[in-house]
Amino acid sequence: MAELRTDTSTACAHCGELCGPDILSETGEAFCCTGCRTVYALLHDHDLGDYYRLESRPGIKPDAFSAESSFAYLDDDSVADRLLDFRSPTACRITFSIPQMHCSSCVWLLENLHVFTDGLSESRVDFPRRTLSAVFDPSVLSLRQLVELLASLGYTPDIRLKQLESRPVDRSMRSLYARVALAGFCFGNVMLLSFPHYLGLDGLTDPRYAQYFSYLTILLALPVLFYGGAEFFASAYRGLRYRTVTMDVPIAIGITILFARSSYDIIALGQAGYMDSLCGLVFFLLLGRLYQRKTYAALSFDNDYRAYFPIAVHVRESGREVTRPLDKLMPGDRMLIRNGELIPADSVLIRGEGLIDYSFVTGESEPVAVRTGDRIYAGGRQTGERLELDVVKEPSQSYLIQLWNKQAVAPRPDDLTSLANRVSRYFTPAILGLAAATGLVWAFRDIGTAVNAATAVLVIACPCALALATPFTLGTLHRWFGRNGLFLKDPSVLERLADISHILFDKTGTITIAGARVPEFEGDPLTEVESQAIAALAGHSTHPLARPLVALGNADEPVEITDFAETAGRGIRAVVGGRDVRLGSAVWTGHEGDDTTGGLLAAESRVYVSIDGAPRGYFRYRNVTRDGLPETLSSLREHYRLGLLSGDNDSDRERLAPAFGEAADMRFRLTPHDKLTHVRDLARAGEKVLMVGDGLNDAGALGAAEVGLAVTENDSAFSPASDGILRADALGLLPSALRLARRSISIIKVCFVISLLYNVVGLYFAVQGLLSPLLAAVLMPLSSVTVVVLSTVAISRSARKEGLA
């Protein structure tokens, strides 16, 4: 679109969008809209011009739709109560999610709001989470006024139903930091206290020192075992409850034995013990956990329908228009839905011409025409005029939500099937067996050495390096992907990604760009002047099918339009440049012999054209596929079976077939339930399915697939529950992402072998009862460091080779 305006272009001083010189401020800056000019003037009036100095043209174009949408429901005390973190008569605290913030200027402005807002005493931004927490005085500034202020600046807070229900604060990160710090602290001190022993100074100094130091190490190891190690005991127990021997089981055994053996050595035998190894082990393992815990705080991977629905709707009540929170919406209420608004409950159309965009719900690319008396399902978006609807079912009972609830998949205990845990299933019994055998063999000769050797086996075999290979390899790759637009819920998804055998794509919004459609003309060819006239006429309509036609003309050559008339349900006409131009249904434009279902309000969209009364043909609309799609698909085809699951009609079949290849299974007109069943059938047949989709209609399939990736145009938009979020422009990343996932598994396997080799060396000494604390203290960290360095470097090199930045 931009090139249409190139010659008149100036960038808006607020938001940087290209614009004409029509809207100017007093000082001569150009703006794209009055909204931007208002914000600019407001900021300058209050000496907040720094906003524009920190970043160049940082503004967000105030969205006309959200600026006019009413926040009256925020005056409702029950809603406000659930939104506020803290409430008193003179001070309230609230945390908003503001996905639009994107740069340091945003942070600066949002934190300086109090300069020109009475009653707002503090506002603080958490940029990674895209949240703003504000403290305000409700007697001066109401919650609604605060939200309206934010909306008028373009930072409309994202207030969702789901947010109202519960807002758990994730504090697990804090406790992990504390554990790592504690383990690190104790590790360092225990090593210092072990120094005399390392250097063989025990004999040189007073032996009482050595004893004193050893007792101190016990003291320091206690919190490491019980606080730092608690993670591993808990998850080992969790695994055992699922009847799986996870990697945490040998770790838990190892650190327990280490502590018991060392305490015994120190207290009963007056030896040095292995407390330094114990603390080091727990420290490294916790570091691995910390590394693996990297999350994308601003993204939400387990959205449900409530995050998609608005928080309140307009309702007509005894002649007056009021806003009502969605959970108070009852059957029989009369809803008012404006252009662009979501219909939140199953309802019947009472007044207005409905044209409902279900593309996100069903995958249909064409808006559906609805007439008075027709049933409308929740989840659709009205495009066009204002509607009045009677609610039939409460929002929580609507068809879509029932479907969602039925599809809800129980969360699987992911980490139980990971590669490390599968290895552990053999590793743990083997080590326990070896320890028992060692003990038994020695028992015939010397019972003391028997215990000594058996515990040494359990200590040295504690799979620290083994347990670190996975978090560091996958954690590193996880970060690489995040930087390139593929955000995975957690690194363990990568293991499943490596196993994929079958890839299924949704069509609308996934491989085609939602809402972008290119008109194609069928009929008597149009001259340039005629195209220009059609574009000019289409520009006068707000109809979604008219908008793509505007691009046919050249916006710099204005055409004179007179006698514009729009007949609802039929079409538009006007005299353009002296010629009578009509756009609309077949009947409206005199294509009587033609398909009479065509036209502005048909399921299969055609817009017919007549000029000066002569029927000329029709436009039909082609979906626009994403850039580089054929290359991506043909590269995927080499390794995987591909499939297409579309809720739309099959008009794109022929165009997409070459890219998908002959072997691909392309299915159209699927209901959300069909998609789910198809994925389940494939899974039952032993296929590991990767589902790539975007809409609510894919939610079930995304959940049922081995890995579900949700495609989204921008990070802040709603996406259904999934294992990962793929930015639309990163769709081409998919082949190399899958290659890297497979590569990471090979790297992990190499690391396993290396750490097993270290184990064999240690075990060689352990079974003979010769494992000295010094050897343990060297061997265990060394193997861990080798594995961490190797896995991180190897996967980073592979990622760079694949062209990730």
Partner: protein, 55 residues
């Protein structure tokens, strides 16, 4: 040389003090957002000056 017992014990207490300080910092949320403060410190506090002028 018996002072060693006291000194080592004392040094541990000091170190534990720092550990406790770190724990306090984590608890009070200082590590919840480690990104925004880096942006914030580049902002000039112009607005304060204006308030002074007005008063």
């Amino acid at each position: 040389m018996d002072v060693m017992y006291v000194l080592i014990g004392f040094s541990l207490v000091v170190a534990i003090g720092f550990l406790a300080a770190f724990f306090w910092a984590v608890r009070s949320g200082q590590f919840d957002d480690v990104f925004t403060p880096a942006m914030r410190m580049l902002f000039e506090n112009k607005t304060k000056k204006k308030e002074h002028r007005d008063s």
